[in-house]
């Protein structure tokens, strides 16, 4: 995990199960502001959030956004209910269907399965950030051109998954498409269009450049 810029040099991610399990015991907690306290776990100071609402600071689409949420609140619900970024959709709400896909540090992630408090300091990109200056990203344009959408509810998540997939696999084989995009489900049945969209976007120079950047 990377450190966030606003808290240099400190463990950034707060309390985690791993650090808890590692710990031999908890020291007395020291209250901090806004429902966050610090406990000593195995010699290291970690933050404990809640109960109750806590302030979170999220790097979303290149800007710092703040919200007050309960620690049990997912990134998805924070985006949708607190920040009115509703492109990511809530469908299965348990990490199966991919409708909530966003990029976290450039990788596709199910935002329904991440807690907001846990992704502070990470770079989060939602579908709202893809189009630049009123121009659709090549992946988005390919979805439009190939009618890779019907009701469109899975589409933003699918677009983000395709973006992350093509960044990593700029010239994918059909077999890679099957596996790489198997984490997004569509009910209307738009996969034929999605396959064509991936092929079109992969052929775009700008998409390929994105791929090289990420290796």
């Amino acid at each position: 995990m990377s450190s966030s810029e606003d808290r240099p040099g400190k463990p950034d991610s707060g309390f985690s199960r791993r650090s808890f399990l590692k710990g031999t015991g908890l020291a007395i907690s020291v209250p901090m502001v806004g429902g966050i306290s610090v406990v000593n776990v195995d010699g290291a100071e970690v933050k404990v959030y809640g109960p109750g609402k806590v302030p979170v600071s999220l790097n979303i689409n290149g800007a710092i956004k703040t919200a007050n949420v309960e620690p049990r609140t997912t990134l998805l619900d924070t985006l949708r209910n607190e920040l009115d970024l509703t492109g990511a959709k809530r469908v299965c709400d348990r990490g199966t269907c991919g409708a909530c896909t966003v990029l976290v540090d450039g990788k596709a992630a199910y935002s329904c399965s991440l807690l907001a408090v846990d992704v502070q300091g990470r770079k989060i990109a939602t579908v709202e950030s893809l189009a630049q200056g009123g121009k659709l990203h090549p992946v988005q344009q390919a979805f439009v051109d190939n009618d890779a959408q019907q009701c469109g509810f899975c589409t933003p998540g699918f677009v983000m998954a395709c973006k992350a997939f093509l960044d990593k696999n700029p010239n994918p084989t059909p077999e890679q498409v099957k596996r790489g995009l198997g984490g997004n489900l569509c009910r209307c049945g738009t996969y034929v269009g999605v396959r064509a969209a991936v092929a079109q976007a992969a052929a775009q120079p700008s998409t390929r450049r994105g791929g090289k950047r990420n290796g």
């Binding site: 309960e70 049990r72 609140t73 619900d77 949708r80 209910n81 009115d84 970024l85 509703t86 492109g87 990511a88 959709k89 809530r90 469908v91 299965c92 709400d93 348990r94 199966t96 269907c97 409708a99 939602t126 579908v127 709202e128 893809l130 189009a131 659709l136 988005q140 979805f143 439009v144 051109d145 009618d147 959408q149 019907q150 009701c151 469109g152 509810f153 899975c154 589409t155 933003p156 677009v159 498409v177 099957k178 596996r179 995009l181 198997g182 984490g183 997004n184 489900l185 569509c186 009910r187 209307c188 049945g189 738009t190 996969y191 034929v192 269009g193 999605v194 396959r195």
Partner: protein, 716 residues
């Protein structure tokens, strides 16, 4: 009187072309706002406490603790003590709180005492269903089936069936309701019925119908399950009232969506069918049953398509189970009955040692008026899937992975629904199409745009389409493939009328009679002398300050849309004989649907239907637990849908052009979703040599069928 017809083929600029859906850019960029996405100021979140038991009497409900919890704004008992609950997941208490967590906490604090009662949740094996749970519908007899069977050269018997599936809309059912004052409600529903759902709510709230304002820009799937306001819609409005008129958003959780918000009835049948020495079908007998929860499922169109089989005996029964109620599911009853009919006929063809394609064509006259359409489509499909090259007699494959081919035939109505549409031409030349319809993802917006732009000779972006509001002129519910015919007719009539009014105004300028003018290429011109013209803007400027608004209606003068289509599908599969896994190699659809307005979105409908069909043929099933009476897989990891890697190659051939265009517009949503299950099931039988009697054809069923050799029905 205006002449309402579609422009001649050679004059069409937009109609019938491949045009990208106009709301596509909004959808790919997250800008499209679905009901689930709407956040209102001061909005509360609603949750529902549901019965954990499939059959129980409510003894007591204590909401006092829930009411006292922090952040809770309203708690309302929906079904109180004494109520007999008939399915797990039924609605008992509604709660509104400042956020979802608080509402969930409060839901957990509601104390309900139940008296449990015995339940029935399975209907696959009719012999295990208590007699009092079986409702026998009217039987039907045609000809003399007993005599025909006694004289038949070849007869087969089998049991076939379909497990219950759900709609599994990705945007779950739900709404945001708020009282804007003591008498008026603003409703954001997720609905297939923008024009009528407000009236339904008003009736329940006992306020005038026009006191409910309905707005919906986008809907994340419906498939037949979103026509009604639903109890949760009414209770959402009640919670708003209790919470000082604050907006309340209540969208079903995924488990509730899969448990109570819609399912497709199971249909099973014992079938006997006989043929004469020439391979002609002479007799049909079916005893069908199924469950739609506590309710039924209407008269089954059995035998499917081959209605002209001369001798028939049909029996139909409904099993009342303690399961979530069924709702219309894309082409209600047709996919299930297609599976049963086409599988039985395919088994008969195999018994006759006939190529299934030859057998179906030999008997095609028994399909009635569309026999020639089906024949043409079967031959086209056979060409696309290379039937004659790839077909082999049933079970003659070798090796671990075996290939097979199967086919199915389907029909649907798709006649237009009633629709009123307003088209306005402004003096500055801008054009607006307005009506209270909804775009389910079928491309309704795009079709409206195409028709108005075509009629006015304008580019697509010169037209603004406004739908999704019950203050616009009323248009029918989007169900049964009735929308495209309805809205294309009403919008064409409105556009023609508006144009004619404009031509009246412009005629003196061009020194011509209005009927000598036409709109084309952004101009109003004299048809016989296009050099004599004014631009669209100049023409509209002649309106002065008064815009033209014309209302078009369906039904109306002239026939712009009709109904009745046929289609066929053929599937090729590979089956692993050791694991029982079925893989889709290819599926082709040949579909008749009259005049196509937008070929791109029309093809998407067919591709989508074949993918949905692949889901229900191979993967999806609502699995009930007999012991607890609950749905075991109300989630998306165990309620299986096909992913992008599961669908194989797909090909769509639309029957368009002369001979089809003349029929006008016909709905397309339902028909192509009917055949996939049957075509895939027949392909599996062709591959492995035995019938897998029920769908979905999961590996366990394939292996069970192989073990039984004769197609013993493992789950029936």
């Amino acid at each position: 009187m205006a002449d309402y017809k579609w422009p001649d083929a050679q004059k069409r600029v937009h109609i019938g072309k491949r045009i990208s859906r106009i709301d596509g850019p909004d959808k790919v960029s997250g800008k499209a706002k679905y009901t689930f996405d709407i956040n209102r100021p001061g909005m509360l979140f609603g949750k529902i406490v549901r019965s954990p038991y499939a059959h129980a009497k409510i003894v007591s409900i204590d909401i006092t603790e829930a009411q006292k919890m922090p952040g809770v704004a309203a708690v309302k008992i929906i079904q109180g003590p004494g109520t007999e609950i008939q399915w797990a997941g039924d609605e008992l208490v509604a709660i509104a709180a400042v956020d979802e967590h608080k509402a969930e906490d409060a839901a957990r604090a509601v104390k309900i005492v139940y008296e449990r009662l015995p339940h029935l949740v399975h209907d696959e094996d009719i012999s295990k269903v208590p007699a009092e749970k079986i409702n026998r519908a009217a039987d039907g007899v045609t000809g003399d089936p007993d005599k025909a069977f006694s004289e038949a050269k070849t007869t087969i018997e089998g049991t076939y069936g379909n497990a219950i599936i759900t709609h599994c809309c990705l945007e779950s059912h739900g709404q945001i309701a708020e009282w804007t004052d003591a008498q008026n409600v603003l409703l954001h529903p997720s609905t297939q019925s923008v024009s009528s759902v407000g009236g339904q709510l008003a009736q329940s709230l006992k306020i005038p119908a026009n006191n409910v304002r309905v707005k919906m820009d986008h809907i994340g799937g419906g498939f037949g399950s979103k026509f009604q306001i639903d109890r949760w819609g009414v209770e959402c409005a009640n919670l708003s009232k209790l919470a000082q008129n604050k907006p309340v958003k209540m969208m079903l959780e995924r488990d509730a969506e899969l448990t109570v918000a819609g399912s497709r009835p199971s249909i099973y049948a014992k079938v006997k069918v006989g043929a004469d020495a020439n391979g002609k079908i002479v007799a049909w007998q079916s005893e069908a049953w199924g469950t739609g929860g506590q309710g039924g499922f209407g008269t089954l169109p059995m035998p499917y398509v081959f209605t002209g089989i001369p001798n028939q005996r049909r029996r139909q029964m409904t099993v009342a189970t303690n399961t979530g109620p069924s709702r219309a599911w894309r082409a209600p009853n047709h996919p299930q009955v297609a599976l049963i009919t086409m599988a039985a006929l395919d088994d008969l063809a195999a018994e006759l040692k006939m190529d299934a394609l030859d057998f179906f064509i030999k008997n095609i006259e028994m399909t009635g008026v569309r026999a020639n359409v089906y024949r043409d489509e079967l031959l086209k499909g056979a060409e696309l899937i290379e039937w004659k090259k790839n077909w082999h007699p049933r079970g003659q494959g070798t090796g671990t992975v075996r290939k097979g081919l199967g086919l199915s035939i389907h029909t649907w109505g798709g006649t237009p629904h009633a629709s009123d549409c307003d088209v306005t031409i402004q003096p500055d030349g801008s054009v607006e199409v307005k009506l209270g319809t909804q775009d389910l993802g079928t491309g309704t917006r795009t079709v409206l745009n195409i028709i108005a732009a075509e009629t006015f000779g304008l580019p697509l972006d010169a037209v603004k389409v406004m739908i999704g509001d019950n203050r616009y002129s009323p248009s029918g519910s989007s169900g049964g493939s009735t929308t495209v015919g309805g809205i294309s007719s009403s919008s064409r009539r409105a556009s023609v009328d508006a144009l004619n009014q404009l031509l009246e105004k412009v005629a003196p300028t061009l020194q011509a009679k209005p009927e000598e003018l036409e709109a084309a290429g952004g101009k109003i011109q004299v048809a016989a002398n296009p050099a004599k013209s004014v631009t669209w803007k100049q023409a509209c400027a002649s309106l002065g300050s008064q815009p033209i608004t014309a209302r078009g209606k369906q039904p109306g003068q002239g026939t712009l849309a009709t109904g009745g289509v046929g289609g066929i599908q053929m599937a090729q599969v590979s089956v692993d004989m050791e694991t029982g896994i079925v893989k889709m190699d290819k599926i082709v659809a040949v579909q008749d649907c009259g005049l196509v307005i937008d070929l791109k979105t029309a093809e998407s409908q067919v591709y989508g239907a074949m993918i949905m069909g692949t889901c229900y043929a191979l993967y999806e099933e609502r699995i009930m637990d007999g012991a607890t009476g609950k749905v075991l897989n109300p989630n998306m990891e165990f309620y299986k849908l096909a992913g992008i890697g599961d669908i194989g190659q797909m090909q769509v051939h639309m029957m368009t052009g002369p001979g089809h265009d003349e029929r006008g517009v016909i709905g397309l949503g339902e028909p192509p979703t009917i055949s996939p299950g049957a075509a895939i099931a027949n392909a599996v039988a062709n591959a492995i040599g035995v019938r897998v009697p029920t769908i979905p054809m999961t590996p366990d069923k394939v292996l069970a069928a192989l073990a039984g050799k004769g197609g013993a029905n493992a789950r029936v």
